[in-house]
């Protein structure tokens, strides 16, 4: 069944039909409105997405679509797209370079963050550059966005699928949350 659908799409592409998924770029360009050109965000509450691992991007969009992961806005958007379009978007943004954003950080908090994040390194790497394809880059991600994500993990009423992240985030004090965000934001 799946192959039949794929074949249909490929044939449509060959015939030059206007209904073919001919290039994901026009759809990806609509993401730029909020996430920046090539997924490099200039808005502190919006994450950069260019250069994040493909599997991570694909998973997170599918989780929003299924409703298994909380989102304020993204769930309502991704429900509008097929799994194939979501996969193509993930591939598109994963192929862009990861650009750590230059931002002002508080050196005291960064120093505290370095200590606190020792326990995060197992999954996220020492500076937030993860090795595995399921884990997002945190180095040079926006501090405010990271703090807002931590807020989600710390609110029990919010559905966030990663139990380890939920447990880790809850162990942090308010100041430590800020420190962790500032530390990763400060990494290149």
């Amino acid at each position: 069944m799946r192959y039949r659908v794929i074949l249909g799409v490929v044939l449509a592409g060959l015939l030059g039909s206007a209904h073919a998924v001919d290039s994901i770029e026009p759809l990806a360009n609509t993401c730029n409105n909020c996430h920046g050109v090539d997924g490099v965000s200039v808005g502190p509450s919006m994450p950069s997405i260019g250069g994040l691992p493909e599997a991570y991007l694909n998973n997170i969009m599918l989780e929003w679509k299924k409703g298994t992961r909380f989102s304020a806005t993204m769930g309502r958007l991704v429900k509008g797209y097929s799994d194939e379009q979501i996969a193509a978007l993930a591939k598109h943004f994963a192929s862009k370079p990861w650009v750590p954003v230059a931002q002002k950080t508080d050196p005291k908090l960064v120093a505290l963050g370095k200590k606190v994040t020792a326990r995060c390194a197992g999954c996220h790497g020492e500076t937030g550059k993860a090795e595995d394809s399921e884990t997002p880059n945190l180095n040079g991600q926006w501090s405010m966005y990271l703090q807002m994500e931590a807020m989600k993990y710390r609110d029990d009423s919010v559905a966030m699928p990663s139990r380890p992240m939920r447990n880790a985030a809850k162990k942090l004090s308010d100041e430590e949350v800020k420190a962790v965000a500032e530390f990763y934001a400060n990494q290149k």
Partner: protein, 433 residues
Amino acid sequence: MSQFNRRDFLKALAVAAPASVLHVPSARAAAKARVVVVGGGFGGATAAKYLKMMSPTLDVTLVEKNKIYTSCPLSNEVISGHGNIKDLEIGYDGLKKRGINVIFDEAGTIDPVKKTVALKGGKTLAYDALVLSPGVDFNYGGVVGYTRELAEGDLPHAYKAGPQTLKLQQQLMAMPDGGTFVITVPKGPFRCPPGPYERASQVAAYLKGHGKMKSKVLILDANDSFSKKGLFEQAWKLHYPGMIEWVPGASDGNVIRIDPKTKTAYTNFGEHKADVLNVIPPHHAGNIAKNAGLTNEKGWSPVDMLTMESTLHKDIWVVGDSCVHGDLPVYAAPKSAHSAVTQAKVAVGAIIAKLNGQPAPVPNFVNTCYSIAAPDWGFSVVHVYRVDNGKLVYVQDAGGISVIDTPSITTLRRLEAEYAVGWLRNIMADAFA
């Protein structure tokens, strides 16, 4: 296994798709083509930028009156003092650096047959494709007694961000406790459908924050419902109990005339004396679109909903607030910055395809619109569209407004208040940088 299939699918697609389907512009056709963009707001700036980005050999000219653009989104937050107007301003250096010819002048007459635009400064520009993104102009006479002079003087509508925004802020600051701030809302469609109600919220936020809780915000509305109504009413009840009153058209909310001297708004049967009178006059498409014969009997520019090309004159694409896009209900395809930017991107795809003699690509329309009703209290509406048998329709199950009742409400509203600000930074950069 499914992962494997997907990869195969993408690989197969990459091999199978012939170059023509990928809309690679032919350098020869594109090199000759001159595209003129009139109006340097969100829609026009995006069109100019993406034309040049997608087809660098195009000759792209942007005509704009003002050297600095001031964003309307988040300008209600300036009225309440929660935002700074400087953060809403942006110039055109980013577009110039991309090789776009930016002309600071006012476009006068469009000749759709000769395909020229005459500028008020004397220059005439010839085009192969013209993008019009003039925003809205106002029908001041739609409210008897209201005039452009009053708007620019003592009774700012502040529905285009700039000096009028600051004037309205000063009037709010000067209003004594116990005063009434009246906002009059015209019959839709108007730009930024939640704008008047967000403004009412921001005015109340200012009053609450300054201990002027005896004051009132009165919304006199020509319409019987409004965008994100449930979300606004929830926020009003929670944050400003008893401070905001909304009078729908059906309950005599439609303001017919005003007396500027006494700051009184008159409806069919009632009169409402204001301390601050904020009249939002009815809108129509930008005058330049009207004068060029690009508008319908209701004053808006009809476009092919798949390409944004005018249905009245070919080779002219109308994007943003001036166009009526599709035949969905008034609030369905809202006049928002987000809509304007996505429409501009669709128009760019269609223009490049047409210049190269190719069919227009499948369009992607989406809208996201945030409102901030109180500090740390934001919410949004999302629209995702798809083309079905040549018609623009909503994608079932996608889109909609933020959840109204949820145990996560504090987190959710806080997130969206921050997203509103992040969204603005990115969409301004997407259009202008």
